[in-house]
C-alpha cells in the first residue's frame, strides 16, 4: 500500500488504523507507509478515513504477493479457494471428518495474535515439527510454500516476507500430542514472534474429552473458551 504524497493532507487520521504500525507522519507532515513492515492487509484503505483518498495499491510482484494472501481477510487463497490462512479445519469437521476419533488436529498460528511474523519464523516451527515426523496438511497455504515436505523447508525467496499470521496445520494420533507440544515449547525461544496453539479433537460418545486431562497433566494450559463444532449436519440428518 502506498500514500499519494501530493494528496496527503497530513491529518494523521490513518496512522492508528495500520495493523502493524507501518504508517507514520514524517517531519514534513506527510504520512508514509514503511513498505518493509507493511503486510498489504488493506485495513488502512478499507478504513476510509483519509479525507484526500490518498491511499492506493501499488503493483505487487512475487513474492510480495504473499503478504496480502496471508494478511487480507477478504482475500481468497488462489489454491485453497477459502478466505483466510488455513483450511476449513474443524469448521466443517462434521462433514469432512478431517479430524477423526483417536486423532488430534493441531494448528500453530504464527504471528497471532496481533504481532505478525516473517515467514522465516514459520519455517523454524515447521522444520522443528518435521523432525518429529509431523506430516504437514497438504491443502494449507504454508505447506504450498515448502520445497521439502519431509523437512518443512520453505522457499528461500519467501522467508523475508512479513504477514499478519500464517498457520502450520497437521493431524497426529492423540498419543503424539504431548510430544508435539514439547517440541513447540522447545522451539519457542528461537522464534522472534508469538504463536498461538490450537488442539482439536472429537468428543467421545459419552461427551468426554480424555486428551484434556492428558494435556493439562503434562503442564500445558487450556483456555476455558474456544470453538465447538456442534455437529449440526449430523444432528439434522438424524432427525
Amino acid at each position: 500500500m502506498l500514500i499519494d504524497e501530493q494528496a496527503c493532507s497530513g491529518c494523521g487520521e490513518c496512522v492508528p488504523y495500520c495493523t502493524v504500525g507501518a504508517i507514520a507522519l514524517g517531519d514534513d507532515g506527510v504520512a508514509r507507509v514503511d513498505l518493509e513492515e507493511c503486510v498489504e492487509c488493506g485495513a488502512c484503505l478499507r478504513a476510509g478515513v483519509c479525507p484526500s483518498d490518498a491511499f492506493f495499491m501499488q503493483e505487487v510482484e512475487w513474492p510480495r504477493t504473499l503478504r496480502a494472501q496471508f494478511s487480507d481477510p477478504l482475500g481468497v487463497h488462489p489454491k485453497t479457494g477459502i478466505p483466510g490462512r488455513g483450511t476449513e479445519e474443524i469448521k466443517t469437521n462434521d462433514v469432512t471428518e478431517r479430524v477423526k476419533p483417536g486423532y488430534a488436529g493441531i494448528a500453530v498460528e504464527v504471528g497471532r495474535p496481533t504481532v505478525g511474523t516473517r515467514l522465516s519464523e514459520v519455517e523454524k516451527i515447521a522444520m522443528a515439527l518435521s523432525k518429529i515426523g509431523v506430516e504437514h496438511e497438504p491443502a494449507n497455504p504454508v505447506t504450498f510454500l515448502m520445497t521439502d515436505l519431509s523437512t518443512g523447508k520453505m522457499q528461500d525467496e519467501v522467508l523475508n516476507e512479513k504477514v499478519l499470521s500464517a498457520i502450520v496445520e497437521f493431524i497426529v494420533p492423540q498419543s503424539k500430542v504431548v510430544e508435539v507440544l514439547d517440541t513447540l515449547r522447545a522451539v519457542a525461544p528461537e522464534v522472534d514472534t508469538v504463536f498461538s496453539v490450537d488442539l482439536a479433537v472429537r468428543y467421545e460418545p459419552d461427551g468426554s474429552v480424555p486428551i484434556e486431562r492428558i494435556v493439562k497433566d503434562a503442564g500445558f494450559y487450556l483456555a476455558p473458551n474456544g470453538k465447538t463444532n456442534i455437529g449440526m449436519v449430523t444432528h439434522v440428518a438424524a432427525r
Binding site: 477478504l74 490450537d198 482439536a200 472429537r202 483456555a223 470453538k227 463444532n229
Partner: protein, 209 residues
C-alpha cells in the same frame, strides 16, 4: 481458519461473548448453500445479534444487513455474535427446527456452549478446539486491556493503537463508547467482533486512564 479461538478476557466477560460461524465444505456441499445462509441470517436476526458478517464479503457496516440477506451465495461464510448463552441455545434450536444442514461452529466458553447445545436438543457436540494460549516472544504482545478488544477480530484488523485512540476519544467526550465500539467493529471484515463488549471495554479503559 481459527480466527475466533483466542478471544481474551475474564471468564465473566467471556460469558457474554459467543460467535456463530457457518459454512459449506468445498467439494462436498457447496451447491445450494446460498439459500441456507439466507435462512441462517433470517434466524439470527430474530435475536438481535451484537454483530454480523459474511467472511467472504464484509460485515454489517461495510456490506450491509440487507445485502447479506439478499445476496447470500454459495461462497458465504456466515457469522453472528451474541451476548448470552440462552440466546445461543435458542438460535441452535431454531436452526435445527429449520433443518439447517450446513456446519455450525459456536465459539465461546465451553461449559456454556455445551449447556446451550443440551438445551437445544443436541446431546454431544461433534468436535472441540482448544486454545493452548500464546507462546514465543510474548513480551511483544500489547497490554491485556488492548488484547481483550483486539482479539475479538481474529484477523488482527483492530490494532492496539486504534483501541487506545478510541479510548482517548471516549475520555475526551468526542465519541460515545458505543460509537467507539462500532468504529472498531467496522474494521473486522468478517463480522465476528462483539461491538457491545468492545464499547464496555473501551469505556473501562477511558475511565482508568
Amino acid at each position: 481458519m481459527t480466527h475466533t479461538n483466542h478471544r481474551r478476557g475474564t471468564v465473566e466477560d467471556l460469558s457474554r461473548d459467543y460467535v456463530f460461524t457457518t459454512m459449506a465444505s468445498k467439494g462436498v456441499n457447496v451447491p445450494g448453500t446460498g439459500e441456507r445462509m439466507k435462512k441462517f441470517y433470517e434466524i439470527v436476526m430474530k435475536y438481535n445479534p451484537a454483530f454480523m458478517g459474511d467472511a467472504a464479503k464484509g460485515n454489517q457496516l461495510t456490506y450491509g444487513v440487507k445485502a447479506m440477506l439478499e445476496d447470500s451465495d454459495d461462497k458465504t461464510i456466515g457469522h453472528a455474535v451474541f451476548r448470552d448463552a440462552d440466546t445461543v441455545a435458542a438460535v441452535i434450536k431454531d436452526l435445527m427446527d429449520a433443518g439447517f444442514d450446513r456446519s455450525v461452529v459456536v465459539s465461546g466458553l465451553f461449559d456454556n456452549v455445551r449447556e446451550s447445545c443440551k438445551k437445544a436438543g443436541i446431546g454431544t457436540p461433534h468436535t472441540i478446539e482448544y486454545s493452548l494460549g500464546t507462546w514465543g516472544k510474548t513480551e511483544k504482545l500489547p497490554p491485556m486491556e488492548e488484547l481483550e478488544v483486539m482479539t475479538m477480530c481474529g484477523h488482527a484488523q483492530v490494532p492496539g493503537a486504534l483501541v487506545r485512540h478510541m479510548a482517548e476519544q471516549v475520555k475526551s467526550g468526542r465519541l460515545t463508547a458505543e460509537d467507539a465500539g462500532l468504529r472498531l467493529g467496522r474494521q473486522c471484515m468478517c463480522g465476528v467482533f462483539n461491538v457491545a463488549r468492545a464499547a464496555e471495554l473501551v469505556a473501562a479503559m477511558a475511565a482508568r486512564s
